[in-house]
Amino acid sequence: MTTLPAASPVAGANRLLLRAAGRARGWTALVAAAALADAAAAVLLPYALARAIDAVPPGGAPAAAAVWPCVALVVASAAAEVLSELATGCAAARSTAWLRHTLVRHVLAVGPALRVPPGDVAGRVVGGAAEAGVAPAAAPEAAVGLVPAAGALVALFLIDWRVAVAIAVALPAIALLLRAFVRDISTTAHRYLTVQGTIAGRLAEALAGCRTIAAAGTADRETGRVLEPLPGLRAEGETMWRVQGGIAARGMLALLLLQIAAVGVAGAELAAGRLTPGELVATVQYAGLAAGFGPVLTQLLRLARARAGAARAAEILALPAPGHGTETLPSGPGRLDFRGVTAAGGALDGLDLTVPGGLAVAVTGRSGTSELAALAGRLADPDRGEVLLDGTPLPDLTRAALRREIGYAFARPALFGGTVQDALAFGPSRPPSAWLRESARAARADGFIRRLPRGYATPLADAPMSGGELQRMGLARAFAHAGRVLVLDDATSSLDTVTELQITDALLDRLADRTRLIITHRASTAARADLVVWLEDGRVRALAPHAKLWRDPEYRALFGGAG
């Protein structure tokens, strides 16, 4: 069993982001270049504007030489912005795609040992990777983001140190003001989400009971019940707006007062003859630039989220994935040997067992049966000991050989594919459709499949299946790909006894030459197998025909009926 490591692997996250950035090397470089060009233009432009303004003598001709730098800087800034938009998007697209490919490949390689909830996996592949993918562009933007503010302060000092000091003193006050807002908004947002969660919970309940509601004709009443907390949601929502209004008002006031102060101080310098009118305009602009560290904060926030997304991806990538060998299998009857196998925290404890080839062998017991089933086809590896198929240890086999020779059917199978037919064909190779139908017939699935709106061509999404129907689909899929060994892990538990019997017949007749390992909790199934493996305390207590074991009251007690 593989669970996620508790500590978030920060180093892993950084490494992963670097590799992702490497995949989008060209675009990332372009983002950096554009950001630098834009920052330089932003710092230089107020100065160029000041020169141009001052070059216009009252009533005189303009000094064209002073206007052209403005044109050049504006064009450079606009071009940089266009390229930056393009490069940012493309860099994110490429690194996100690389992260997603990497994650999916690894999830498949880890296999059933992955103990992460499916929604969580999807969250990491979709949202997490997208957030992490932003990093290659956000990092250079954040690094360059302080350049305009710093450049503006430097320029202010060059123009007039008194103005620069006045503005530098005012800046921290603004920063403090903005910090308080973030706190306000998150508490109201939390209350809003709580009410929203209540409504969503009630809706989920009602949806789960939709058949009852449909039959009772109470849809209107249920809608009313689900929406009961809606006025509370409205109230919390309005509070959020009020808080936001406060933020906007204070932000606006702060910026305006800063600019007024800049005009006032610079105006005094102008009156004293230490500044030109153009330089006053530049001063106001530089004041705005110096206060404009918001974008940097945004980029840093995005970077932090990217780190978090990458850390979540790295957690998955850090999980060990089992490797496969290079051997293909010599021909054989399909004999399985378990040698001194300990697994699943002692559910199996030093178990020795030989499953003879070509027989139907039932496995029963109070515990350890599913663990044995998983080991038989290397869905899990034992902690100690080894499992061999016809003399070859399973880890030595290639993945293709392993999956070709050992097939599975489960109690709750998951189906893949566009249509019902695709779902049956799912596997390393696609069997011919006649064979698929033959397998469906053997698994007693043909009947209900043909009752579906478009029979075998029905899209899976349009084919709601009961637990029993799903089991028969899983069996049909396993029959269609059957190799040397077939493992049925409680695969008929949801079927009524008649259907189960018909399927067992198919198992006995049609697949008579395969090794069939049948995990079961039903005496009737065990009775029809050639041999029964009775597991107890992680070991084999007995290996014998059912009829012989049935004389043992303890064996009968296993099935409850005769106890």
Binding site: G89, V281, F559
Partner: protein, 612 residues
């Protein structure tokens, strides 16, 4: 939503409606927006005048202009503060409306069968996206209009010629922005849809990881998901290209006016502009127009597209018209409780019928069990009698009237519905006027008194997630027992109960006056019934439990297999299908001894029961 026109229409219609629905809030928002824009209108003029005053040594005059600006700033901030509640009065009712639509639509769509599980995500995620983006859009677009208007008014008051230089490039850039907006919306939609597809595929893969590996289908899945990931990357690049185009429009409307004013400076000076006027004009462009444009283009570019796309997706799945309730009619005298005449049902064109040409009469007071292999159409029969699905041929009658009237019958499905609320409210679902004594009596009857005690009494709040399936089914059964409706249909409603609890509940229903139809999960349910309907896909047979084995090989099979399989094989004396105790809830076929010997006469008959 495939074309730019559709995107624009969705926005215009829904957002327009939302705004029109709140005229007073809109008026207030407009008024406070105007106040908020006052500093923008004053800024360039005040700076210009102050510069001229400073330049010519009139420091006092300059100071008073700065004071005017400070007062304007205070007024603007006040306007901004008052503006947001007005915006809330537009956005929050719209959000309420969407929540109602999603809830109502999801419930109604789910009535047709499968629960619309995506609705919860729509409620929490997509509705919030709409709220955020709609609110953001109101802030941004409205802010842009008022700020631009204010800056232009300021420019005109400064010197009308300057406005002539500024307006044409501004309009040009905005037109270009509008032209690419629709096409960009389509790309953005592809991005949203692609994201959903990847999420769905990844969830399916993670849920079925064991099967994927066991079947050796890793390569297939990796290729499929890989293709979706690549398509998503392409969609991301397409969106980036449109973002670049947006930046072009920003350059045209924001930067071009600035350069034009600079280039035309000598001309303006000749027409009497002072350096202060020139500086004022540049200030309006730099500090009025440019920030407004920037927020508009970035705001509309991101959130405007998201709003259009998400709204369209919510509306695609919004509520259809509610079905007309069946007319309340008097029951036809002497009509049987339930009657099926030549009823057939198939799940689609060309699909093999699940039920074919079935005739059935269930008289008042009957107790009928329906048995048959899984997937044979037992639940479909229950749905037909309840009027939840309509037969493809033939006629279903309840009390001689079309089925579907919730006043006449109760259907309890496999998945018991329990909601967050008091236990009493849950139990009195069909009988809101039931007295506490009636509720307790029904609970005693079906055997859930102990459960009620465990939950803390009938007034206690029930947390559905904390209940086991068996608990939930017991609550649903008690609810049905308490219901005043004359016909009760139990569709494997007790399959999670252990056999003795099921027996107790079913016996309670047998004692209850009225008609009982039980879709049986265990053969013991059939043994308790007065009559049994056996469905086997090609034939339907009706009879008594004691008589059916003689005429129905399937029934013989069902009894034999469910009842005495090991006995036949091994001479087990108990005649019970032995099952691991751990698995009792799923499959336990204990017989109830007295069920088989009912002496009741077989009422009614199956006139025809033929198929294929």
């Amino acid at each position: 939503m495939r074309t730019r026109r559709e995107a624009a229409r969705v926005l215009r219609r829904t957002v327009g409606d939302a705004i029109r629905a709140q005229p007073r809030a809109v008026a207030r928002a407009a008024a406070w927006s105007a106040v908020e824009a006052v500093p923008t209108a004053v800024f360039g003029r005040a700076v210009g005048e102050a510069v001229d005053a400073f330049r010519t040594g009139r420091t006092g005059e300059a100071a008073s202009w700065l004071c005017v600006l400070a007062v304007a700033a205070a007024a603007g901030a006040f306007g901004s503060r008052r503006l947001y509640p007005a915006l809330a009065a537009i956005v929050e009712p719209f959000r309420d409306d969407l929540v109602r639509r999603v809830t109502d639509g999801a419930l109604r769509r789910s009535l047709r069968g499968r629960p619309d599980t995506g609705a919860v995500a729509r409620l929490t995620h997509q509705v919030e996206i709409v709220r955020d983006t709609f609110g953001g859009l109101l802030v941004v677009v409205r802010g842009f209009l008022f700020a631009t208007g204010a800056a232009l008014i300021g420019l005109v008051s400064l010197m009308p010629e300057v406005a002539l230089l500024v307006v044409p490039p501004l309009v040009l850039g905005l037109l270009f922005f509008g032209a690419v907006f629709g096409a960009a919306a389509v790309r953005q939609r592809a991005l949203v849809v692609g994201e959903e597809e990847i999420a769905e595929r990844t969830t399916a893969l993670a849920e079925g990881l064991r099967d994927a590996v066991a079947c050796g289908g890793e390569d297939t899945l990796r290729e499929e998901l890989g293709a979706a990931v690549e398509a998503q990357a392409a969609a991301g690049r397409a969106v980036a290209r449109f973002a670049a185009l947006r930046a072009v429009s920003l350059a045209v409307s924001g930067w071009l006016p600035l350069l034009l004013v600079l280039a035309a400076a000598p001309w303006l000076m000749r027409r009497g502009a002072t350096p202060g006027v020139l500086i004022g004009a540049l200030t309006y462009v730099l500090h009025g127009l440019q920030p407004a444009l920037r927020t508009l283009v970035h705001g509309m570019g991101g959130s405007g597209l998201r709003l259009a796309v998400t709204l369209a997706r919510i509306l695609e799945t919004s509520a259809p018209a509610p079905p007309a309730p069946p007319d309340a009619a008097e029951p036809v005298a002497d009509a049987p409780a339930v009657e099926l005449r030549g009823v057939s049902f198939a799940y689609g064109e060309g699909a093999r019928p699940v039920i074919e040409d079935l005739d059935l009469v269930v008289p008042h007071g009957d107790h009928l069990a329906v048995v048959g292999p899984s997937g044979i159409g037992k639940s479909t029969l229950a749905a037909l009698i309840a009027g939840l699905v309509s037969p493809t041929a033939g006629e279903v009658l309840v009390d001689g009237l079309p089925p579907g009237d919730p006043e006449r019958r109760v259907l309890i499905p496999q998945e018991a519905y329990v909601f967050s609320g008091s236990l009493r409210d849950n139990l009195a679902y069909y009988a809101p006027d039931a007295t506490p004594e009636q509720v307790e009596r029904a609970a005693d009857e079906v055997g859930m008194a102990r459960l009620a005690e465990r939950l803390g009494g009938y007034g206690a709040q029930v947390v559905p997630a904390d209940l086991s399936e068996a608990d939930r089914q017991l609550i649903a059964l008690c609810r049905a027992h308490l219901a005043p409706q004359p016909v009760v249909i139990l569709d494997e409603a007790a399959y999670r109960l252990d056999a003795s609890a099921e027996a107790r509940a079913e016996e309670a229903f047998a004692r209850r006056p009225g008609t009982l139809i039980v879709i049986a999960h265990r053969i013991s349910s059939a043994a308790r019934a007065r009559r049994v309907l056996v469905l086997d896909g090609t034939r339907a047979q009706l009879g008594r439990h004691a008589d059916l084995p003689a005429v129905s090989p399937l029934y013989r099979d069902l009894i034999g297999r469910w009842n005495s399989e090991p006995a036949r094989l091994l001479g087990d004396p108990d005649g019970v299908d032995p099952v691991l105790r751990a698995d009792l809830a799923v499959d336990a076929g204990q017989m109830v001894a007295d069920g088989a010997d009912r002496q009741d006469e077989v009422l009614g008959d199956l006139r025809r029961g033929r198929a294929t």
